[in-house]
Each structure stands twice: as C-alpha cells, then as structure tokens.
Amino acid sequence: MAEQAEQQTGGVIYVIDGNRTPFLKVEGRRGPFSPADLGVAALQPLLQRQSFPQSAIDELITGQVIGLAEETNVSRVIALRAGLPEAMPAYTVNRNCGSGMQAVTNAWHALASGQADLVIAGGTEAMSYSPLCYSEALTAWYGAWSKAKAWGQKLHLLSTLRPQMLRPEIALLKGLTDPVVNLSMGQTAEQIAARFHITRQAMDNFAVQSHQRLAIAQHDGRLSEISPITAPDGTVYADDTGVRVNTSLDLLTSLKPVFNKPFGLITAGNSSQITDGAAFLILASEAAVKRYALPVVARLSAPVWVGVDPASMGLGPAVAIARLLKQTQHQLSDIPYFEINEAFAAQVLACVAALNDADYCQSALGLSEPVGLIDKHHLNVDGGAIALGHPVGASGARIILHLIHVLKQRNAKRGIASLCVGGGQGGAVMVEV
C-alpha cells in the first residue's frame, strides 16, 4: 500500500498533445503503409505543430506486436525517419493488445522518476503486414536441402516433398491464439459471454451502436485527433475506414459464428476489425511544462496492469479498473466516461457485468460490494474497435487520446481508458483534464 501511495503522488504526468492516423481496415492484402510508415505519418504532423525544440525530447517509445523483419525496433526506425535527433534513443515495447498503453506506462515511469522530462509514446500496427510463414515441415525440409551435397541426397529429399508442406501458416491467426490454453481470442470471449450470460442480441446491438456512434462522431467532426495520411499512389485517407454507416441489426444477426462453429455467438460483426494504424501522445513532466510553456491537455494517473486467467483474458479490464479505482481512491460513480477497448462486444459487456456482479467482485476481486454499474451512455461514446478496428499495438494509445478528446468535448473532468490483453492481462489508466 505504501508503494501504491507513493506511485500515486510520485509525480503528475501531463499530456501535451496527441495525434493518430486514420485506422485503415485490412482488405485482404498488404495495406499502403508499413508499421513504420504509419508511425512516421502519425508523428510528423504532431511534431510539426509543437513549439518546443526537438532536442528536448528524451525518447520515443512505441508499442507494436507484429514486428516486420525489415523494421526491427520499429520505434527507432520511426524516430529516424520522422527526423527526430539521432542522439534521442527509441525502443519498442510489446504487451500484445496493451502495447500502446504499455508505451505510455513506460513513459509515465520515466517521467515520474525524473529520468526524462519529455517523452513521446504510442503505438503502431499494420496487421495487413503480418507474414505468411513456411510450415514447420517445410522449414525442416529446407534445412536438410541446404545441407545436402550429393545429387542422390537431393533427389531423395525432392521425393519427400509433399503438397501440404507448402501450405503457409498465417502468423496473424497464430498470434491471436493463446499458446498456453490453446484458445483463440474469440474462443476466450465465448467463454466469458457464457459466464455472464451475454446474448447474441446484446452483442449485435452493441456492435450496431459502435458503428452508429462512430458515424455520428465522424459526421459531427469530433475526431480531430486524426491527421490525414497520404499513400504513395496519392490516395488521401482522412477518416477511419472500417465504419459501416448502414449496418443494421438484421445484417449482423445473419452472420455466422466464426470461432465456436456452429453454435457460438461471436461473429466477425461483433468483433473488432483487423486494421492498420498508429497513434502517439506527447507526455511531459511538470518541469518540461514550465520550461517550454507547454499547453497541458490532460493529466495521467499511473497506469495499472493486472493478470487474469488467459482463458478469460477479456475480463482484464474489469480487474484493472477495480484496481485503478482503489489506487486513485475513487468510486466508479466519480468517473463520468469510460473507454474500454472493444476487442469483442461480448468481452466489453462481460466486463460491465462483472464489475456489477457481487459474486465476481467478491471471488475475483476480494470486494465485499460490487464495484458498480458503468452507464452504457458513458461507455465508448464515439464507438470503438468494432467500428474503427484494433491495430493491436496502437489501440492502447488511441483510447487514451480519444478519451482526452471526449472529456474536453463534453466538459467532463475524469475518465478511465482500459483494455484487455491476449494472454490474460488488463490495463487501465485514469485521465483527468
């Protein structure tokens, strides 16, 4: 407890500005931007509008899950390509779906400890770039082939080559499967849906609402967190491309389950989309704010990370939010706005249910009373990953950035951004403006 109290008062960390690319739905092939391209595109306008010297930036921290062979430590690649000083270090962090928020967490600690005064943190992901891999059998075969010298050996090896060995393994699918419990992310969501009795209709309603809310936010011009990006072929992307303005409940109801076939509840329509995108925030210490007369847009609490059963990884936010409330000594009713990343509609709804469930709160969180009910009118008010997608490395930064805009636009003081993490974790951070 002493440690937590210290963390809490250890320093006030400010957000100065933030920017993201539009999130681009993957169309079945590589998108127009690599992970580093996206990062550079998100960073350049952000840097261009600052008044402080770039030499004042202490480091760039970037969350990313699916690294490209040609862009290892993508953070450094982005920093150099965006023209940040060579003397400024940069590193990449991976906490799966929480990577973008993890980058912010690392920045938070660097600032709170006084090691840094100005840090850029965020994330990038081009899920369309996730590779196709050779199968294990083919890899072994190729290893033998490269060692074979004699023609006889080679002929023999050729005779062992089988067509099924040529079938590629899709890295994206592998990445979305938990290797410990051997369940795909969707299967874990099915499990918690069952546990908290989330119906197919509730999920589909939630998905429709996500699209509608994003469409309205776009229409009303409330997504000023986005700067347009331009592809090499001249196409300008100004808005998130995943939103389906005309999605209806009927349409979603007609979709078949994709994980637990044929009786499952989770469909492509009530899951987050596979998407490319990047988002960055500039974080500053009090000293930097004073020194460069920086405009403060928000304050961040120390982010909280928790572990849960990997088979119900979707409940991560419930545990993380409860922990964050305790750490910041707030009641759920003190928090007017929540952003909970929509990995799956079922998973967000399960978190809401769990926090209001006396049994769960007692058994999993050790609380005598339920934490409370999150008002759905104040949860993901501009839609979420179901409508705009979930580029895993970037989402954590996006929900913080977006929450800041929500609080400003709605004259609210405080909000919590939270997400679930594949492997059974949850993260949450409190934003105050």
């Binding site: 261009q48 008044s51 390509r81 347009p228 331009t230 090499p232 072929d233 001249g234 300008v236």
Partner: protein
C-alpha cells in the same frame, strides 16, 4: 624525397609510394597546364626513386578524385596547331605514367570524370568506392569533344570497343558497381577496405582485365565499320553532325584505328584538336562555364533545412518534391487534400526514378510532409508561395504568412507575372520578399530565376542563391521587371510564332523550323504545354509594357476553353497528354521562317538586357539555355548575335 610541389604530394611508404593530387586553391582536382606539368615532374622524380616498389595515386580532396580538364583553359585555344600541341603534351604525360616500371594503382572516390578517368586508365589497377552516387565517366561529348589523353585507345583495350564507345558517346556516368561489372575498375569497395585492396593487388598482381571474346571480336578491323555504322545511325537519330560533330569524330576514329598503336594515339590528338576549335565546342564550353558562374553565385550557406511550400498545384507540388529529393524537410500546404494527394503521387514517381535505392526513395518520401493545416509555416527556413496567379489572393496569403513565419525565414514567391512590390505592399519590411521563379517541368529545367527588388538585402539574395544551388538548380539573378527574363523573351517569341500562322505557315511547320534550329520544343507546342490561359494572362501584362503584337487567336482559343495540353486541345490536339499531330523536322529549314522566329527572340533578349533585367549578356544567354531550352551548341541568343 624532399621536393615539395604546389599541387601534388608524394608520401613514400614501406610497400608503396602514395602520390596525392591536391590542387592548390581549389575544392576539386582539375587538370590544367600547371597541374599537368607538375605531374610530369612528380612522375619523373617518383620513377627515379631507388627501391620503388609500387605507386598509388589518390586525391587529397574530401570530394572526388579528379574532375577532368580545366574547361576555361581549353576554351581559349584558337588554332588547331596549338590544340594539337596541347593535347599531345597531355598524352605524353599520361604515357609517362603508364610507363612507370612498377605496379600503379588509382584509388578513386566520389567521381573521376573525363581526363580524371583517363588518368586512372593509364594506371595498372583501379579501385573505387561502392557508393551508388559515385560517378565515373567521360563527359567530353557534352562539351563538344571526345577523350584525348589516351582514353580512346586505352578504354577499348580494357572493356572492349563497343562498351567503350557506348560509354564515351553517351557521356553517361557509372557508379562503382556498374564500373566493376564492366571491367572499368578492379574493385568497387567500401572506403574502409581500400588499404587491404591495395595490399592484395600489390601482392597478387592479378592480370589486367580483358574484354570478353565477343567484345574483342567486334573490335577486329573487318567488323569495325559495321559496328561503327550501327552506332552512327543511332547517334544521327538524335543529333546532327553539323551541330554536334564530336560523337561522329569519335566513331570515325575508332572505325579507322580501333585504338591500336601509336598511330591511333596521334589520330586521337588530331581529332580532338580539330573539335576543340569548332564553334560547337566553343559554345558548349561557354555553356559549361556559364553553369559554373551561376553555381558560384550560390557558394555561401543558405541556412535552409526546412522548406514550406504553399499551394500544391503542379508547380508547388513539383517544387516541394524536388526539394524533398534534395534532402530538405518539406511541408506542403494546400487546403485541398486531393491536390496534396496528386502531388504525393507525382513526387513518388519522381523519387523512384531518381533514387536507385529503396531507402533513398523512402527518405525522400519522409522528407515530404503533407501539411493541410499549415503547421510548417512557423518552422520553415524558407517559405515558397506557389498558389494561383491572383494578386489579391496572394496578397492576402502573404499578410498571414508574414505574421507566422520565423523572423529570419526567407520569404519567396513563385509568381511569374506579379510584381513583388505589389505583393509586399504594406509590410513592415517589404525587403524580405524575393522571387524564386521555377520553370515547368521542375524536374527537367535547371534554371531558377531569383527575383530581387531594389530593396532586397544582399544577404537575403545570397542565401536564396545558395538555396537554389543546394537543390541542384542554377540561380539566375533577375530584376523585378515584368516577365522577368525568360518569360519575357519567350512571350515575344511565342507571340511572334503564333502570328506567323496568320502568314500562312502551319503550326507544325513553325515548330519544325524551331526544332531544326535546335530549340528543345517548338514555340507552338510550348504555348500549349504552358497553357494558353497562362500565356494569355502573361502576354496581357507584357504586351502593354513591352508593346508586343497580340495575336487575336490566343484570346479566341482561351474563350473556347482550348487551353492546350491540359484540356486536350490548344493549337494541337492531345490524347492523354500526347500530341496527335506530327511535327517533321526539315533537313534544310526555310531560312526566312527561322529568321522570322528568332529575330523577335533576339530583339527581346537585347531589350531585356537594355532594361537591366540581368546585368550582362552572358546571363541572358544562360537564362535562355537553362530556362527556355535554347540550343546549347549555339551558345545563346546574344552570343550568336555577337559572333555570327
């Protein structure tokens, strides 16, 4: 060895003696009489060293090996006999080098051009760095001559006659990798490996590179006329013997001698000597020196690292792309994101064509930042305004730009027709505004007119010149007079050309005559390319001030919406930007037609000079050659007027 030289340095070593070329008072090494004669002495002394094991030749300059022969010197030779004597002396010094009894190695970096590469050919081995930007080649044909210091004899022996001819005819340069593949150099390696390569060559003493069997075959006497004939036809398709004799002379030389024997060396000298005194060589040398003169204007530091371009039309977008290609950080502002997109698409095509390596394409792309909100205004060291030619729009924009720009930023407009003093009306410090007038297409036109007003501060102009040079363009200082230099002369020329149509010449005939004269593009097609609306607008401002004739057809075309290439119809019709009508270039053009075209051009050139648009006639010529496609072999409109 304690002899000290002015341009060379000799450093004896354990395994070899290193001879450094370090031309005094010069950033690059050049061969002139002084450096050549001293080289002869150096070679004599080095060869006389007791226990000499090997000699390595290097450049002591940070930039480049040897840039070739000094053009100023050879452009002053006036008789063939003087020329023969000069060229023979150079040949003999390189023969002295070739005759050194111990192994010799030339270690090149960045560039070895013309005589500089011939020097390397006279060594036993050649090493160069592997940077893809390194340039090795023979540029002689670009100045109206061909290699004369043994290049035409040594190169065919090394890489084969056909390859040698292709390299010398084209004036193309090779990077290390390509030179190695061709056999021109023994190694193209990173600079840090050079010492080990020297050590290896001197220990292993590998045999000299030999051309492939089929290359040697093509060099046998009976086949040479066929090979030369084929090449001659290819060259003749592009240029005329009368205008550009050097490539033809080179082919004749090889066909006759194949580079074999003393007789070929003497024939080489005689051939170059004859070329040196031709009007073409004189004109091209002059063009070369004019280029150097303009570059020299930009020798200071511009302090420009970040350029902000406002207006992503064709000009603004292409200027931004060009700057990004030349390592500037560029923010390109336009309220219309579709315009920004089109600019990016064009820029990427440019980058892919100009950059050999993927990471350089990426670097250029990263340099070019689309900036719809104009964040770059406050950070840029140079703001270039390139919006529509509308005075009040420009004035309003500039009012805002002046407020946000950094106090020491260079403020530049790309206007082609509006007076700078009108744009800077009401500014606290109107002297901050200069003109940077680029030409279309930006990628191909080397000239940028730098427009100064009477109040422009000299430091500001100097920084602008330096900026123009830093993006590999040629700055031409011009006064703030209507049409500046190039457009003023071109307008007179194009209006006269359009007027000739009324006298019964077809448009294709008019353009054909101009092309036969050597212009890069006919005046009618040029008008279509610039856009007839823009021509009309420019002409209107100029016609009043310069009392030029105004053909009515121009206004009629514009009224009919026939604006030229961009609308698919102007004087010609265009399908997807390609002209439909054929323009034949007559072998012997109608002299009266050519004169009717060129007299108004020359007259306006003289008038512009008289009005003080530029300070001397050479600058008029430079402007027309680099900014308007005037034929370089003619030296310039006023040059012709003086000598011919």
């Amino acid at each position: 060895m304690s002899t000290s030289y002015q341009h060379w340095r000799v450093e004896p070593g354990e395994n070899y003696t290193t001879v450094y070329f370090d031309m005094a008072d010069s950033q690059v090494n050049v061969f002139n009489q002084a450096t050549m004669r001293e080289l002869s002495l150096v070679l004599k002394h080095v060869t006389a060293q007791p226990k000499l094991k090997a000699v390595v030749f290097r450049s002591a300059k940070a930039k480049g090996f040897i840039a070739g022969a000094d053009i100023t010197a050879f452009s002053q030779i006036s008789t063939v006999n003087d020329a023969v004597a000069d060229v023979r002396e150079g040949q003999q010094i390189f023969e002295q080098l070739a005759a050194i009894p111990v192994p010799t190695i030339a270690v090149m970096h960045d560039f070895a051009l013309g005589g500089g590469l011939e020097f390397a050919l006279a060594c036993d081995y050649r090493i160069t760095d592997d940077d893809p930007r390194t340039r090795l080649g023979f540029l002689e044909t670009r100045v109206g001559i061909h290699p004369g210091w043994g290049g035409t004899t040594r190169l065919p022996k090394l890489i084969g006659g056909l390859a040698a001819l292709m390299l010398m005819l084209s004036g193309r340069t090779l990077h290390g990798g390509a030179a190695k593949a061709m056999g021109l150099v023994d190694y193209a390696i990173p600079k840090c490996d050079v010492d080990r390569a020297i050590a290896y060559l001197l220990t292993a003493l590998p045999p000299a590179h030999k051309p492939s069997i089929w290359q040697r075959w093509l060099g046998f006497a009976p086949l040479r006329p066929i090979v030369a004939g084929l090449l001659r036809r290819r060259v003749a398709a592009k240029i005329k013997d009368k205008d550009y004799p050097a490539p033809f002379a080179l082919l004749n030389l090889w066909q006759r001698y194949g580079g074999y024997g003393e007789v070929a060396t003497i024939a080489e000298a005689n051939s170059v000597a004859k070329l040196l005194v031709t009007p073409t060589a004189k004109s091209l040398a002059r063009v070369f020196l004019l280029r150097e003169r303009l570059r020299e204007l930009g020798k200071t530091e511009s302090g420009v690292k970040h350029v902000h371009v406002v207006g992503a039309g064709t000009m603004g977008g292409d200027i931004a792309a060009w700057c990004a290609l030349h390592h500037m950080k560029v923010t390109l502002e336009d309220a219309d994101s579709a315009q920004l997109g089109r600019s990016m698409a064009r820029a990427v095509v440019l980058f892919q064509r100009k950059c050999k390596q993927k990471h350089r394409v990426q670097a250029a792309r990263d340099n070019l930042i689309m900036d719809p909100k104009g964040y770059g205004r406050a950070h840029a060291d140079l703001i270039i305004e390139a919006i529509v030619e509308d005075k009040s729009a420009k004035q309003a924009l500039w009012q805002a730009l002046v407020q946000t720009a950094k106090p020491d930023a260079i403020l530049a407009t790309n206007t082609s027709s509006i007076s700078l003093t009108e744009l800077s009306e009401g500014w606290a410090n109107p002297a901050r505004l200069i003109g940077l007038h680029f030409f279309n297409p930006v990628e191909r036109m080397p000239l940028v007119e730098v427009v100064e007003t009477s109040s422009t501060a000299p430091e500001l102009a100097a920084r602008a010149f330096a900026f123009v040079k830093s993006i590999d363009k040629l700055p031409l200082p011009v006064a703030n007079e209507p049409g500046f230099l190039v457009n003023r002369i071109l307008s007179a020329y194009m209006l006269a050309a359009v007027g000739l149509h009324a006298q019964g010449y077809s448009y294709a005939q008019i353009d054909g005559a101009a092309l036969a004269f050597g212009m890069a593009m006919g005046p009618i097609e040029l008008a279509d390319t610039v856009g007839l609306d823009i021509c009309l607008a420019a002409a209107k401002t100029l016609v009043e001030k310069l009392s030029l004739p105004m053909p009515t057809v121009l206004a009629e075309k514009v009224k009919a919406g026939e604006l030229g290439r961009k609308t698919g119809k102007g004087f010609y019709t265009y399908i997807k930007g390609q002209r439909r009508e054929k323009i034949a270039i007559p072998a012997s053009p109608d002299a009266r037609l050519v004169e009717a075209l060129m007299v108004p051009l020359k007259a306006e050139a003289s008038a512009a000079l008289a009005d003080g648009v530029v300070s001397d006639a050479d600058l008029v010529d430079a402007g027309m050659i680099f900014g308007a496609g005037y034929p370089p072999f003619r030296g310039g409109p006023l040059y012709v007027a003086v000598t011919g």
